[in-house]
Amino acid sequence: MLKIADKTFSSRLFTGTGKFNDKATMVAALQASGSELVTMALKRVDLQNKDDDILQPLIANEMHLLPNTSGARTAKDAVFAAKLAREALETHWVKLEIHPDPRYLLPDPIETLLAAEQLVKEGFVVLPYVHADPVLCKRLESVGVAAVMPLGSPIGSNQGLKTKVFLEIIIEQSNIPVIIDAGLGAPSHAATAMEMGADAVLVNTAIAVAPDPVVMSRAFALAVQAGRMAFETGLAGQQQQALASSPLTAFLEDVG
């Protein structure tokens, strides 16, 4: 079972609430995914009003909320947003997203590290969205974040695991859960991420804008399960050729 901070998860598929064409589809898709952690942009919900049309169905379905700071362009913005979310939603979990770049929404590593350090000190469970940068992930781990969320490719791009070599290094080095976030466009991308040893994936756009989000959501759930199962049992390797002669180790036969 996956454990992040003090919470355990039986599903390793995390989802988001953006880009659905209606709320009923969103709820049906999130339910079909089996996801237990759902992120939503703070800027999209009405924090004063618990009857908000995004918030209300999530609360009604007992989903664990992961407010994100999307829209924040600096550490200061993000810390402020996280505090607002904590107050309004009664959760100290936050997905830290700081992207000053409005086109590709790429995360700012410097502001993210600064904000993460401060939010951890203030008692938040911080899950930072970052580029697939192994050194940054270790720096974030050392300031006490609960997991890291490196990207597979630019957010919403559906291009899959373009950062694969770096994700492999992050997974190898990390002492905290690694959640592959952003860019996963097909269930096969999610399965590959899980086969590589990712602890979880977060998928939003590829589900929300699929012709049938409910079916696609189920497909992602199965892919994540399949990939995890394959990782746990170990993939079959490619066979190497046996060698007829022993040029490097024959010297061991020459002595008594």
Binding site: K138, R139, S142, E168, E172, Q173, S174, N175, G234, A236, G237, Q238, Q239, Q240, A242, L243, S245, S246, P247, L248, T249, F251, L252, V255
Partner: protein
């Protein structure tokens, strides 16, 4: 959590059984993977891997050349003192051994430095027995500056110190610390360390955590092969390395694999490792971890070193003496920690290495790079 806490979850007997039960299929599986797990490492050091030695050697050589290039780093040990207040059953410096005890004076140290520099070395390893009052921080403070002014890279293999002491020595120019656990089996450890501070298994094991926190540039680890089952101890070294790399990720690591040899104490090892098994272990470390430095000392024979040096090793000592004053005084005085098996000069060694198509690297660091890491990571 320190490595001591971490080790509480690793059961010695279960590891030993698990290694012994590995099959050909497990070995073939491990050999087919790009990134090896600790479980794969168990397969590669198991008896089942012995028929696959040539394949392991080929892959180990290829990975080593890819990562380190066609080079071998040279270093030399410089013994500061053979004073020791421990009784360790296997060691020539053990307090109950009747050898002449000596600690280098500043003048003697200068002479040793000059002799070693003349041989061409720029990376030096300072070694001393454990005698905290006479060869402690006051002594280290005095000599480190002096030694570092003459060498590009300075390693130490002395008694374990506290974090603040390491921080101070790093500030003075210390680049690397070697600290071998000898055996990771606490029961066996207790049976071989009969007196002195070295009896404290936990303090020794947590040395690498203190070093990691102090921000040292490089840490060397290893087990003394022969105290207990070599496969299980070597597996623990791999677990230790894996832990350290994930925890103190800005530090470099090296591994040594000293095999027990006859010494003044006439100690007989519990398990004997053959040459073939040592090659197996070297290759297994390399396949498990393409980046770790692997070091081979002059405990090994010239024939063995000649043949093994392209297979995975990254640093070699040569022309070594294991007694204080050994580079300037008569070498036949009975003071040594262990017997040297390969007594060729650095020049002769360089010739051999070149014949193997490798370049000898004497300097691969610089005094100006010794800026301590920001603390607290």
């Amino acid at each position: 959590m320190s490595f001591y806490d971490y080790l509480q979850y690793v059961n010695w007997n279960e590891c030993q059984l698990s290694i012994r039960s590995k099959t050909k299929a497990d070995v073939e599986y491990a050999l087919s993977r790009q990134r090896l797990t600790l479980n794969d490492f168990q397969a590669l050091i198991s008896p089942a891997a012995e028929p696959y030695l040539e394949q392991m050697a080929q892959r180990s050589m290829q990975l080593t050349r890819q990562r380190f290039g066609n080079t071998l780093q040279m270093y030399i040990p410089l013994y500061l003192s053979n004073l020791c207040s421990n009784i360790c059953t296997y060691c020539g410096f053990s307090i109950h051994n009747k050898i002449r005890r000596t600690t280098l004076t500043m003048a003697q140290l200068d002479a040793e430095i000059a002799a070693v520099k003349k041989m061409g070395f720029d990376h030096v390893l300072l070694v001393a027995g454990e005698s905290e009052h006479r060869v402690g921080m006051d002594y280290f403070r005095k000599i480190i500056k002096q030694v570092k002014s003459q060498f590009a890279h300075l390693s130490m293999e002395v008694q374990p110190l506290d974090q603040h002491e390491y921080e101070e020595l790093i500030d003075l120019g210390l680049d690397a610390v070697l600290v071998y656990q000898e055996t990771y089996n606490p029961v066996t450890y207790a049976a071989h360390h009969l007196r002195g501070k070295k009896q404290d298994f936990r303090y020794r094991l947590e040395t690498t955590d203190r070093l990691g926190k102090a921000g040292v540039h490089k840490i060397g680890i290893g087990a003394l092969i022969g105290l207990d089952d070599w496969r299980t101890d070597s597996y623990h070294v791999a677990v230790h390395l894996d832990y350290l790399q994930r925890t103190y990720w800005r530090t470099k690591y090296s591994i040594s694999f000293p095999r027990l040899r006859p010494c003044a104490g006439k100690f007989q090892p519990k398990s004997i490792m053959t040459d073939r098994q040592l090659v197996q272990l070297i290759c297994a470390y390399r396949l498990f971890n393409p980046d770790v430095e692997l070091s081979l000392s002059t405990r090994e024979s010239a024939y063995f070193r000649n043949n093994v040096l392209p297979l995975g090793i990254t640093s070699l000592s040569a022309g070594s003496s294991t007694q204080p004053g050994g580079y300037t005084e008569d070498r036949k005085v009975a003071l040594e920690q262990f017997e040297i098996s390969d007594d060729r000069t650095p020049e002769q060694m360089e010739e051999i290495i070149k014949l193997r198509g490798l370049e000898v690297v004497w300097k691969d660091w610089d005094r100006s790079l010794n800026i301590p890491l920001e603390k607290g990571f």
